[in-house]
């Protein structure tokens, strides 16, 4: 069955079309969900895409997390639904306390757009289910505030619970423990700074992002079947 993916659109979001295109190209079916909506509609997974929700004013994600749609996202997540926040979406999930920690300014104090080497650090998430630990991926990053920060206890917990999903091979932003992506305890909510949708077509340089989005669609599809 085709996995239906809701792609949430806040004012200032800009990667919604790109994520939707990648989902469709991988055999899923994407629909845009306006931030003012109180329900997600019939979806099997939710993606909060990248961009600059509310201009990233105050802090990235700080205003967006109060959008009506976020209550629906929280309920969906609590019910075990797959939720993935990419870049700005990760920042929104952290501000909304659906994921622990915070994303600070890059240690280099500038925006970074580049393609980086990643390693899959855990298979226990909806974004990496079935992807072997150690898998190397080349995927673009594009952010100013991607420097993942949390207190030592949280970091210990993330490690102990196998919730560090992706790591950078060469840390581009100062993230603690080279973290590029983490999951919640159940593994169904994932936040990552890299943009897998930008790596789905060899014409653009890499199609390694298909591995991650493919796993997400499979996770969503499993719920459809369930």
């Amino acid at each position: 069955m085709t996995a239906r993916v809701g792609v949430v659109l806040f004012p200032g979001t800009n990667c919604e079309h790109d994520v939707a295109a990648a989902v469709d190209a991988l055999g899923g079916s994407a629909s845009l969900v306006w931030h003012g909506a109180s329900s997600l509609g019939d979806v099997d997974a939710v993606v909060l895409p990248g961009g600059f929700a509310h201009g990233d004013y105050l802090r990235p994600g700080a205003i967006a997390r109060f959008s009506p749609v976020m209550e629906a996202v929280s309920s969906f997540a609590a019910a075990g639904g797959p939720v993935v926040g990419i870049c700005n979406g990760f920042q929104v999930l952290a501000e909304a306390h659906l994921l622990p920690g915070a994303l600070q300014k890059n240690a280099g104090l500038s925006f970074v757009c580049d393609t980086v080497d990643l390693v899959v650090a855990s298979s226990a998430s909806v974004l990496t289910a079935g992807v072997p630990v150690g898998t190397a991926l080349r995927i673009p990053i594009n952010h100013f505030e991607g420097n993942y920060t949390c207190d030592p206890a949280t970091l210990e917990q993330l490690r102990a619970e196998d919730r560090i999903v992706l790591r950078y091979r060469r840390n581009p932003n100062g993230s603690v423990d080279d973290i590029a992506g983490i999951a919640n305890q159940a593994g169904n909510v994932v936040g990552l700074m890299p943009h897998p949708e930008r790596a789905c077509d060899p014409l653009l340089g890499s199609d390694d992002g298909r591995v991650l989005l493919g796993a997400l669609l499979a996770s969503a599809g499993a719920r459809v079947g369930a």
Binding site: L58, A62, G101, A102, Q104, A107, C150, D151
Partner: protein, 88 residues
């Protein structure tokens, strides 16, 4: 009700790395500034709060800080209420 002018200073919590502050500090000697240390960067907000008393204005601003203006994972804030601008 009166309108009270409020200043909120948002600072990174102690122990949280502040690359911007560190960068400024590193640049200072080259600019001829000596004897400056411990630079920490933060944000400042000013606004006006309608409230019955200065204490009420302080409480409202602190609530706003806790719920919105700061991210408690990494930031602290200090609220200062100035004299009321008179009844509004």
């Amino acid at each position: 009700m009166a309108a009270y002018d409020v200043l909120v200073e948002v600072a990174l919590r102690p122990g949280i790395a502040d690359p911007q502050g560190a960068t400024i500090e590193r640049a200072l000697p080259a600019l001829g500034f000596t004897g400056i240390s411990g630079v920490r960067s933060g944000k400042a907000f000013r606004f006006s709060v309608d409230a019955a008393t200065p204490a009420a204005a302080q409480a409202a601003a602190e609530d706003l800080c806790r719920r919105f203006l700061t991210n408690p994972v990494i930031e602290d804030s200090v609220v200062t209420v100035a004299a009321g601008a008179g009844p509004s």
